[in-house]
Structures are given as C-alpha cells and as structure tokens.
Amino acid sequence: MHKKTIQNIVLSVIILLFTGGIIALYFLYNPSNSNYFSKCIFYSTTGLHCPGCGSQRALHHILQGNILTGLKHNLLLVLLVIILIYKAVLFGLEKYYVKKFKSLLNNSKVIKVILVIIILYWILRNVDYYPFAVFAP
C-alpha cells in the first residue's frame, strides 16, 4: 500500500511536469512559425487533414488568449470542452447530492452521434469548397 502511494506520487509529478512543459512550450512558440514542431503524421503521409490537425496551432492561440482564432484551427476542441465541462458538472452534482445521475454520455446513441460528428468533420475538412473550407485547419 505504502509503495503504491509513492508510485502514485511519482507518476503524478511526472504527468504534472510533462503537461506543464507542454503548456509552456505551446504558450511560448507558434507551431506555424517554427520548423521544430512536428507536422501531423497523417497529413504528411497522405496530404489529407485528420480530425486532430490544427490542434497544436489551436492550443497555441488559446493559451495566448485568442480563443476564437484558436478554435478556427480545430473546431473539435469545442466538442471536447463541452464534454469535459459536462462531466465535471455532473461529477460535482453527484458529490453534492450523493446520488447517481443519468449521464447523457452513457447513452449509446449520444456517443454514436459524437462518433459520426467526428467522422463527418474529418471528411468535410478535406472538401475545398466554400462552406466546408472553414473547417480546414
């Protein structure tokens, strides 16, 4: 048990340092202006945008405070933020009222819709015509 707590502390310190380092890196440098940031492997090999393309630039702009410019690079971050906030609120409510709530995220239809959104987003951001060109990173 004691050994396990030490392991957990070491692991959390490593994770904290790593995320802190990543946040500092993306706060200080714009991936578009630097040659040192890796491009998306999927994009470099196929020439197609993937659902995650643009998240490095998005992270940089959001950390700098330009939230809208950042989100334009990857709109899926909006989905992620909504899900994380929803989970956090639900977690808080469950702790406060000491009971279980029915989570929308445990509804398989909702998850299927999310999966379809991600795949549609992936396809549409590769379409080069006007309404969809907005999705490109």
């Binding site: 790593f18 990543i22 040192y36 890796s38 998306c40 492997i41 999927f42 993937c50 659902p51 995650g52 998240s55 990857n74 899926l76 971050l77 989905l79 992620l80 899900i83 994380l84 989970k87 995220l105 445990n106 509804n107 398989s108 998850i111 299927k112 999310i114 999966l115 991600i118 795949i119 992936w122």
Partner: protein, 94 residues
C-alpha cells in the same frame, strides 16, 4: 422481482469517452477512433444486460485510448531527443 434484478446489476463500467476524444484530437486519430467505437459498445451492451461484453469493451476503450495518448507522448519525447541531437550536432559544427 424488479428489485432483485436491480440488485444483481454490476456497476456501469466507464466508457472512457473523454479519453478517447482527447486521444483522437491530440495526435493519434486511428487509435482514438477505435477507442470511441468501443466506447459506444460499452453502454449498448450494458443496457442490453450483456455485462461481460460491457466490461470487456470498457477495458478495450481504455486501452486503445491510453495507447493513443502514449503513442503521442512517446512521439513527442523521441522528437525532442531528435531536436536536441540536431542542436548538439549544429553546435559541434559551429
């Protein structure tokens, strides 16, 4: 009767949806998508009463999500080592 059935229900396994989406956006789209597909299976199996399938899908969703994230982390670490190596070679040249 209903009560007995309810008491026999094991707790709902987590579907690790957030992990799966983070892994899809952060780097490793293919692994993340697999993880989301297992996420959808967890709850449909649980609602159908197939608790074993729900449990195993939950584990798979978690493993694929972690695999996606750790591939990203390993890629970043290797990349940093590569950059430091290049910088060191550059410094030797100068």
């Amino acid at each position: 009767m209903e009560q007995i059935v309810n008491n026999n229900k094991p707790p709902r396994p987590s579907n690790y949806l957030a992990l799966a989406i983070i892994s899809t956006i952060a780097c490793c789209m293919p692994l993340g998508i697999v993880s989301i597909i297992y996420s959808t299976k967890v709850d449909s199996a649980y609602n159908d009463g197939n608790y074993e399938l729900a449990e195993s899908s939950s584990k798979k969703a978690k493993n694929w999500g972690i695999a996606g994230l750790s591939t990203g982390v390993i890629a970043i670490v290797l990349y940093l080592i590569f950059i430091v190596f290049l910088a060191a070679v550059g410094a030797l040249d100068a």
